[in-house]
Symmetry: C2
Subunit: 364 residues, 2 copies
Amino acid sequence: MKKGESTMTEIKFERAAALKAKPQDESKLGFGSIFTDYMFVMEYTEGRGWHDPVIKPYGPLPLDPSAMCLHYGQEVFEGMKAYRAADGRILLFRPEENFKRLNTSCERLCIPKVDEAFCLKALEQLVEIERDWVPHIPDASLYIRPFIIATEGKLGVHASNSYYYVVVLSPSGPYYAAGLDPVKIYVEKSYVRAVRGGMGFAKTGGNYAASLKAQEEASEQKYAQVLWLDGVERRYIEEVGAMNIFFVIGDEVVTPALQGSILPGITRKSALELMASWGLTVSERRLAIDEVAEAYDKGLLKECFGTGTAAVVSPVGELKWGDKVMEIGGGQIGPVSQRLYDTLTGIQWGKVEGPAGWSVEVCK
Amino acid sequence: MKKGESTMTEIKFERAAALKAKPQDESKLGFGSIFTDYMFVMEYTEGRGWHDPVIKPYGPLPLDPSAMCLHYGQEVFEGMKAYRAADGRILLFRPEENFKRLNTSCERLCIPKVDEAFCLKALEQLVEIERDWVPHIPDASLYIRPFIIATEGKLGVHASNSYYYVVVLSPSGPYYAAGLDPVKIYVEKSYVRAVRGGMGFAKTGGNYAASLKAQEEASEQKYAQVLWLDGVERRYIEEVGAMNIFFVIGDEVVTPALQGSILPGITRKSALELMASWGLTVSERRLAIDEVAEAYDKGLLKECFGTGTAAVVSPVGELKWGDKVMEIGGGQIGPVSQRLYDTLTGIQWGKVEGPAGWSVEVCK
Ligand SMILES: Cc1ncc(COP(=O)(O)O)c(C=O)c1O
Ligand SMILES: Cc1ncc(COP(=O)(O)O)c(C=O)c1O
């Protein structure tokens, strides 16, 4: 049997003895801190492939203290959401893209690939069981976290021969408590997130571990996030903590090209496709921070916004680069940001018809 | 109370119901695959600091599926050994250096620091309990793995508010089954391990995760390890998989300077100190791969060797850079490598008196 091939037919279900109380006040959910009753788990064993898929009560994973994920960071994950439409349907947004990216991450981390179609089916089954956990209030959603961790209990540095694939679900509140609100970010000068040749394009623990220190320093200075520059020339724009970044310069919408060091965001991809369909000039290219500053000085920097599953579109109101503080859009949300936000959230919550296949119905 | 401060007085001991059988054939131990009866565990909780230190039976750690170490790689570790001297004493080699480096890693990863003196005391206590597990045959030792993992069960990307510090012990066989044997390594051209501004100087999962793919490709080509180049100019030598690297060029012994992207090895540091005390010319500086190739062409590249806890000193017999294959030392071990190996292992196994404080006796 080929590495990564699955030997599964159906998904076992282990019923919980009792269910948790659902959150009372969905506006206070926050992000990623409470979890639903069930999780999906399957195991990988060398020679057997992925096996024993099961939906079972959310609970601790017993891990050998020498499990490789705890020492060598051999772990990958995904992040997506389930949305409740006004008519009660539960929707996913381009979920195949997440499983495709999961496998790209697996490849970089020497983790056996998963069967994308099976994982989507299993996720749909899990979300259907947990449908009552999908929040009801506007802009709240059920955050979905699939992840794979290396479980072999050995201390030699090599790829593990066993893994867990797990999916947990977390009802999460609206990202913007009081509507779309521009954030302040600064350009990071000391720390580097990832460099070409590294694993920046993969969604794997180490990239986030590397970002904690810069994020902590940004928070102390009351900035929401940092804008990463490339690790080679320390000049080209990469991305923000958990978002890709776009600039509207004159009549061009620019976002850094994918060159191996940034995450290929699914919101980024969708935004590019939407804007092109609207007839906007969109460019994926190298973009130096000094080009942005120059555009700002000339009055050409019209908008700046981040894109990601959590915030969908996040307008940037202030961008600080060393001593230079760039105020963008005068505290207002620009027209491109607003249109993207409305369109993407419209599609996600089933209010707007998107391109074919973007919206996947889990159940009614 | 200050972050990271400890509230501990004494270490609890939970006796195992039964002890495992000790390995029959110590020459077949391999590395890091069997573990002793006990492990050391302590917990960190925000507001309380490190608490509840306990020595208890080796066994699974129950981790929340959302524990941050499983998603964001917030984890650091150390690697050291306990050696059995001919007269029965159990010795550690410069253990304070490991705990100092552990705290350096903690700092980079936003993990609360540990009390170094307490951790050394706890380690000594654990090793003393497990003294019978320290191998008896020459060149075998008890590998010691202290590590810290983030345990908070939340999916927001920020530093965890709770951690485990764990120490596990693994009896390990001689690194060289048939005496010091030169290895083949190649210069990595596609992948990068770490870049300045990143976390290359810390002993943390992500750095090893990033190296798996290159290591896998090297193994397929029958090379033992890869030699990493810097991520910026892709020209300056960094280190090998789990070793620092030295070159003897003419009368100079050169090793890359510590500039944030490589691990500051304790064997490296010890080797530098020993060689300086022998009156050798040692330099920590930038060293380009083309300078090494030029030295080779001129017949000046006399030795190349790696240093690390696992192999102590590992002579490099072949270094491949693109199409250029450099055969070093004609399959023989050079005089500097040999003297370093003999001296370091002599000190480690208590046969040779080293500089004050290098050898720490755990028990007799
Ligand atoms: C580093 C990073 N960049 C960008 C993104 C945006 O990706 P997506 O639009 O797929 O959510 C994320 C995750 O959400 C991220 O973690
Ligand atoms: C990446 C790396 N470099 C170098 C070394 C050598 O360090 P030390 O001599 O402290 O064992 C190690 C670990 O052993 C390592 O993992």
